[in-house]
Symmetry: C2
């Protein structure tokens, strides 16, 4: 696997990944919530044609959600390539994914089109550039619903205007450990930034992973929004780094104890839940970033973070597993990946 979520990017000690998505709709079709299946199929076809037949279209693959096995959908959700909503959609919906999985275009999700780009580390600008490129290709072939007053029209008013959502996934163990994360969350709220857990809306901050993104999509340009999210993310990165160093300096042995115990459990367990895995991974990642652990790469940690999720785990195992079997297989894969089996 050499896809984006395995690679390590800039500021990888704190920033796991950057994501930008654009919400777009066809001018001549009702929003997905009001379409009939004939219209749904039409939107699918037009989008598919626009992307797959463009220059470079061979790097993309189309998948119809209706015929996709449940486990494959779930695996894409775990990779953040499609949304939970799309995976659960009853519509004629689809997704176009680039071979490196950096780009995905969800069709007939909440909006007709959700163009998204994912990059490892702190690369919102690159993610935006890529989205913008795909957007240009689509716009050359599709009439978007656009208003001179409001900008791009979207199904939900919270996406109106630019239709952009720029988000950064960050690993914030020191802010969490010390409780300062509360101040960060509060400040974010005041600055128009939403904070969520590993799997977006309503998800818990598993493994000290937090996703920050812009609340407002209107009244600012795309560049202003990107700059704003980047700026706030950078400040959080600095706070997290300072706090890590302060924590480590003030009581190195206690941090080392925490890190090594988690590594010990992670490489010893024969039964392990994804929740516990994420918690231990967080300590191990911290240990790596503080230079306590030197023989494990960020890429391996990223790969494991993905492989411990239920669907990707079952795909790796090559068969459907019940929850108990998953906990055993998860422990097996972790040990194998880290060379402890």
């Amino acid at each position: 696997m050499t896809t984006w979520y395995i690679e390590s990017g800039p500021e990888a000690d704190v920033v796991i990944s950057s994501r930008v998505r654009l919400a777009r709709n066809f001018e001549n079709y009702p929003f997905p919530s009001r379409m009939n299946s004939g219209q749904e199929l039409k939107v699918l076809e037009i989008t598919k044609d626009a992307v797959l037949n463009c220059e470079g279209g061979k790097k993309f693959t189309f998948f119809a959600l209706k015929t996709m096995p449940q486990i494959d959908k779930q695996a894409l959700v775990e990779k953040h390539v499609i949304s939970r909503e799309l995976a659960e959609s009853k519509r004629e919906s689809g997704v176009i994914i680039s071979n490196d999985e950096k780009v995905s275009i969800m069709i007939n999700e909440e909006d007709h089109l959700r163009i998204q780009s994912l990059y490892p580390g702190m690369q919102i600008d690159n993610a935006y550039k890529l989205c913008d490129k795909i957007d240009d290709i689509l716009e050359s072939k599709i009439d978007y619903a656009f208003s001179q007053n409001y900008g791009y029209l979207t199904c939900c008013p919270t996406n109106l205007g630019t239709g952009i959502r720029a988000s950064v996934m960050m690993h914030l163990p020191a802010l969490t450990m010390t409780g300062y994360i509360r101040n960060v969350l509060e400040a974010c709220g005041k600055l128009g930034i939403t904070v969520r857990g590993l799997y977006g809306e309503n998800s818990e901050a598993s493994g000290n992973m937090f996703q920050i993104s812009n609340q407002v999509t209107m009244g600012l340009t795309e560049d202003e929004i990107i700059a704003n999210v980047t700026n706030i993310a950078s400040q959080i990165v600095e706070q997290e780094r300072n706090l890590r160093n302060r924590l480590y300096k003030s009581d190195p042995i206690r941090i080392e104890d925490k890190v090594y115990r988690s590594l010990g459990l992670f490489t010893s367990a024969r039964i392990i839940s994804s929740e516990e895995s994420l918690r231990l991974l967080s300590d191990i990642r911290l240990g790596k970033d503080l230079g306590i652990i030197n023989n494990i790469s960020t890429e391996i940690l990223n790969e494991i973070m993905l492989l411990i999720q239920p669907a990707n785990l079952q795909k790796a195992a090559g068969r459907i597993l019940n929850p108990d079997e998953r906990d055993v297989k998860r422990a097996e894969i972790i040990r194998r990946k880290l060379g402890y089996s």
Copy 2:
């Protein structure tokens, strides 16, 4: 170190050690609680002379408790060579210890003499034989307080008669895990057997270690008492073994998970208390006895069990350590002994 508490003995999968002690008093001196210091010194001298100048007396060393450093006393308590009471005694008291630490004769503890013998594994009979031999040597030179009606007279009536206490230290993780230990404790009470923790009276059963011993010292011969304790200990050994096998067969992966997690923590921790160490050691010992772990010897586990105790830990470190330093040094020693440093 090749002393008894490192060696592995018969039934070592369940029985850690066997101990027999005889309570004896001089006929012509008041009990220790009523002696003056002149009498105390006299009892010390007579006993010392009797043992050190007997045939084979060169294998013994005398220690006066008053001049012994606190940490050395504590280390002997941790090895079960002397009692906590003797270590804390304000009297002119002493102890004569054989080079292999299998025999110790405490002088001016609760009674004038407490002759004890310690063996690894299930060897109450050997422990008794050795005690009896020492007792014969002493009796040939000392007039014991003895009544035709009551037998050997002792300070506390619970030791009257034979003055014998035979005890077996057992590792009972399966009985504890399943809760069946409660039935065992109840049955023991009815059969005249006392159950205690790792450090005798009023001590908790740390690390699933239980010490069983005879309650009654009168109305039975020494041989009957030894046979009774041996018999009950053997039954408990069988129950523990059956339960271990049943537990392991019914859910092997869960037991392996428990064992490997404990081993993982034990060999990874940078800060560890003696309480946690004993708990983890119990799981590791179980893993070894079930054949899950094969590369760690019982001797190493016994040695570590001793080295993690505060005084022996400080002696191994070569200096006095405060509790926080001890937790760090303990983790260090564990890793070194198991080859993980």
